[in-house]
Amino acid sequence: MKKLLAVTGCATGIAHTYMAAEAIQKAAKEKNVEIKVETRGASGTENKFTEEEINEAHAIIIAADTDVDAGRFAGKNVINVGVAEGIKNAHGLIAKALAMNEIAKKDYAEEVNKLKQERSANMSGAYKHLLNGVSYMLPLVVAGGLLIAISFIFGIKAFDPSDPEYNRIAEALMTIGGGSAFALMVPVLAGFIAFSIAEKPGLAPGLVGGMLASSTGAGFLGGIIAGFLAGYVTKWLKENIKVSKNFEGIKSILILPFLATLIVGLLMTFVIGTPVKGIMDGLTDWLTGMSSTNAVFLGLLLGAMMAFDMGGPVNKVAYTFAVGLLASNVFEPMAAVMAAGMTPPLGLWLATVLAPKKYTIDEREAGKAASVLGISFITEGAIPFAAADPLRVIPSIMVGSAVTGGLSMLFGATLRAPHGGIFVLPIPNAVGNVLMYALAIIIGTVVTAIVVNTLKKSKE
């Protein structure tokens, strides 16, 4: 049933205010419409609307010659007439109000999407270039990681012809996933970082630099360096090699790729490759050999980072770090990071379910949308809540995510694919120790919900 609101007010506040109110109430009763009328008269405001009533109203009739604080009705259907009209034409006003179109309910998934786009548009500098590379690299990692996982269904070494469990299909899957998709990971990362900086001429030197990073063992760190190197070298060459107009074509198809690739290639081979390999090896050794205390600590840290800015720069650093490690066959941080990225939206959804009175109707709706975003590992789903109440929400989600990250590392969960949320859990071998992993996510969700509800006051 459509609910209406009406507010009346006149200059002196003695007569017309109440006559309009009465007329509107009478007309509504005759039409069998539910209405609440607020009067702003000489003896003050009577029957003042609550926020909930405004939220639920289909339309608001203002029949007043005086100020009625109409800012409250932003975004709602409003009819604005003088108080005399309220007396004269109450029936007409109600009919008009009922005929107004339903205002479309906010679509939260769309809003979160818009937010993500705005963020991308506002990024600048090195961060933007890095993320460009990552975004082109991700599909390769997803496809490659999942295909490798599936090949393991046949047996951990089923891809190996010399192994008793050998299977032709498993071998093919491993070649496709590991030998091809994963092998392209670092070159593509480097190539598109360079592309972001220097456009098409940067692609070739970037790809080659990344290839060399892989082959020298410099891993994803080497790939990042190669990408920036290729990009800025190409850019510098582009700006500093001046040719006449006839040779512009030659410059971009021959001179730039040739010189840039030469420079980047030589630098990667003779200067950058070995030291960075040393760093990567050290990092990988440290990560795989970590004591469980240190592992948990790393999980806590990565978790907190994921929640701190929900898809922003800090989150992306933790994420990129975890994804990059997949290239070095380290799979635990990836698990921790994805779990920790799911608990902020999931935890906030749970919070609105457990203590609905602490949230506005809008927030409860947002909670439902957040639950879907959360299971899909879209951390940005928590942003509307954090924006509305940062001092309570952000610490809560950080605690929840840290707990999840720590638990995931403690349970030794592994994840071979950099995305997918809940949907990768059933894929065999994609997640190592999947039941404990799921438990880590559940615990983190509950912790987030409890902490944020403890901090929030009731909305009454």
Partner: protein
């Protein structure tokens, strides 16, 4: 509700003759002065007419509720008049007025009581049965009895 303080038989006229709404208002204001509700009749009338200019108090249904809030008013009052000949009041529904309620309110209100009475009266006037009762009343006492049902 302290209705008795607001109204009495002296300020009810069931057979008023006047050529215009201004004249009608002035005649009833005189009665208010005689009954001791006003300290300055001219000031009060001016307030009523100013209010009238802002927007006609002829609310339709052949009824008008001219009113004024003024320092010239000692105590709140409700004067009632039925007209022998309907007067043009520039009403919302363009019909001439047969009956009007002249309301007087002091500048500073000590309490809300009279406002509540007046707002209740205004609400009741929207209902046809109430209006018809008043129009049918033959003596001031009857009128007061009907008003008491607010």
């Amino acid at each position: 509700m302290d209705l008795v303080a607001l109204i009495n038989e002296q300020i009810i006229s069931l057979e008023l003759s006047a050529e215009s709404k201004e004249a009608a208002i002035k005649i009833m204001a005189d009665k208010l002065l005689e009954s001791g509700f006003l300290s300055d009749r001219d000031k009060y009338v001016e307030a009523v007419l100013v209010r009238e200019q802002k927007g006609s108090t002829g609310v339709g249904f052949e009824i008008a509720i001219p009113h004024g809030k003024s320092a010239g008013v000692k105590r709140s009052a409700l004067a009632i008049a039925k007209l022998n000949e309907p007067i043009d009041w520039q009403s919302l529904d363009d019909r001439p007025v047969k009956m009007f309620f002249l309301i007087a309110v002091p500048q500073e209100q000590a309490g809300d009581e009279h406002l509540k009475i007046l707002s209740s009266l205004s609400r009741k006037l929207i209902h046809e049965e109430f209006r018809n009762q008043l129009l049918a009343a033959k003596t001031p006492t009857e009128i007061i009895d009907i008003i008491k049902t607010i």
